[in-house]
């Protein structure tokens, strides 16, 4: 069975290590915070100006002056800090943020990513994504393996306008965990009950299949 968005987030949470400062993009990445182990210390950065972001507020405790980059109301944990946008991107560009998790419309086998524009159809803008992918050392993409039309989102080269070049290292989809290695997608893990053949069929770009492909760890 392909994973749902919560299970994708749960798998990605295993990549979050003790002591990391993490930036979470909008959508599935936001859910990752719910699955991070409780015995490790992690701080979430939101590029609109908070480090130490906490969960959603209890009903009635929402504060219009306290939101995340998705414009959702949030809380600040003890030890949190607020800062301006230029400082926020100093954290990002200056590589002080350890891990970036974001969504994508397409990823290419060379690590290119596209997630901000469909010409003539959808133009929302890149927000902070271009700054994040241009500077981050560790980037994990969280997305479905195929789009709503059933077309692969793991391609030999991106067809949509790029967000960044050669920057994606790891991808977690509803079907598999993959790494970008030597201009190909290297298959690391498959979702429980999903066959290598299904992953192959859903991947348009070059896919390297090692002798043994383990089922994802829960």
């Amino acid at each position: 069975m392909a994973l749902n968005k919560y299970q994708i987030a749960e798998r990605i949470a295993q990549e979050v290590k003790d002591g990391y400062y993490v930036n979470l993009g909008i959508g599935i990445p936001t859910l990752v915070a719910n699955f991070v182990r409780e015995d490790i210390s992690v701080e979430f950065q939101s590029e609109n100006g908070i480090l130490g972001m906490g969960p959603f507020p209890w009903e009635g405790e929402e504060d219009a002056d306290l939101i995340n980059a998705g414009k959702q109301t949030i809380t600040a944990l003890p030890g949190a800090a607020f800062f301006d946008s230029a400082m926020s991107f100093s954290m990002i560009r200056g590589q002080h943020v350890d891990l970036t998790i974001l969504g994508a419309m397409e990823v290419a086998q060379n690590g290119d990513i596209a997630n901000w524009k469909i010409p003539g159809k959808m133009v929302k803008g890149m927000g902070g994504a271009m700054d994040l992918v241009a500077s981050a050392d560790r980037i994990i993409v969280a997305m479905t393996h195929t789009n709503k039309a059933g077309d692969s989102k793991l391609l030999s080269s991106c067809t949509l306008p790029l967000t960044g070049v050669g920057c994606v290292k790891k991808i977690v989809t509803d079907l598999a965990v993959l790494e970008v290695r030597d201009n190909a997608f290297y298959l690391l893990e498959r979702a429980p009950g999903v066959t290598v053949k299904e992953i192959q069929e859903a991947t348009q770009g070059s896919l390297v299949i090692p002798n043994e492909v383990l089922e994802m760890l829960k």
Partner: protein, 236 residues
């Protein structure tokens, strides 16, 4: 102490003319200069170039100036959540420059700091880099980006004093400090205007030197764009 206080938003907006370039603080609807936006709508100035991270929603924030077709060019990083904006952009009525958020912030900051241009890796190899000077530093390619030039900067702070010193609250800080002193005239509106000497100098985020006009804002709506809460049943 130099007094930067003006009576009200009307006096604060004196000198704003059609065709000018304006900076407006805020992220989404958080920390936007609500009073200044209402006044700009009332003044009816048009052909404006607006520099702001977002373009508001259909009926609030900069969306109000889009409704009245007062904006000619929008410079922003993210413009979702606004149907009227999308319509004007796709049919060519509105000119839009989308730029990476960090680059947007730094172009404000550079204008404030008197730095004419800087290099950043954001957008290299994408359409953002087209026609821009690029250069390699430490084995990585970067784009040359320029400081903004603007006529007015409208910011919103939580507290301010008559000398123009400002304190922001929560994530309503965002672009506001970076836009202070980044235009010819900076106008700050505050939720609470206090006499000089009331604010602790240790707590001031933006010194009054970056602010030309300050006024007590009124009737803040502080609308929430995405109200998300935990409920006792689903809470964790």
């Amino acid at each position: 102490m130099i007094n930067k206080t003006v009576k009200n938003v009307a006096e604060a907006c004196t000198g704003v003319k059609s065709g000018m370039t304006l900076m407006l603080g805020g992220f989404g609807l958080c920390g936007i200069p609500e009073c200044a936006i209402s006044e700009l709508q009332r003044l009816g100035v048009d052909h404006l170039t607006c520099i702001s991270n977002n373009a508001g929603v259909d009926d609030f924030g900069l969306g109000l100036l889009l409704q009245t077709r007062q904006i000619k060019t929008m410079i922003a990083s993210y413009v979702g959540e606004n149907a009227e904006f999308e319509r004007q952009m796709l049919c060519g009525e509105l000119e839009v420059q989308l730029i990476p958020q960090g680059t947007l912030a730094q172009r404000c900051q550079a204008a404030q700091s008197g730095i004419p241009a800087f290099y950043t890796p954001a957008g290299y190899g994408t359409e953002v880099g087209e026609g821009k000077e690029s250069r390699e530093f430490n084995g990585k390619m970067h784009l040359l980006e320029h400081a903004f030039k603007a006529d007015f900067s409208f910011v919103k702070a939580w507290k301010g004093d008559t000398a123009g010193n400002l304190i922001f609250k929560g994530t309503a800080r965002n672009f506001n400090p970076n836009m202070c002193g980044a235009a010819k005239i900076t106008v700050a509106e505050v939720e609470e205007l206090v006499p000089v000497g009331t604010l602790d100098p240790n707590q001031i985020h933006i010194p009054g030197i970056f602010v030309q006009r300050i006024f007590q804002g009124t009737d803040y709506e502080k609308r929430i764009e995405q109200r998300t809460v935990r409920t006792k049943e689903h809470g964790a």
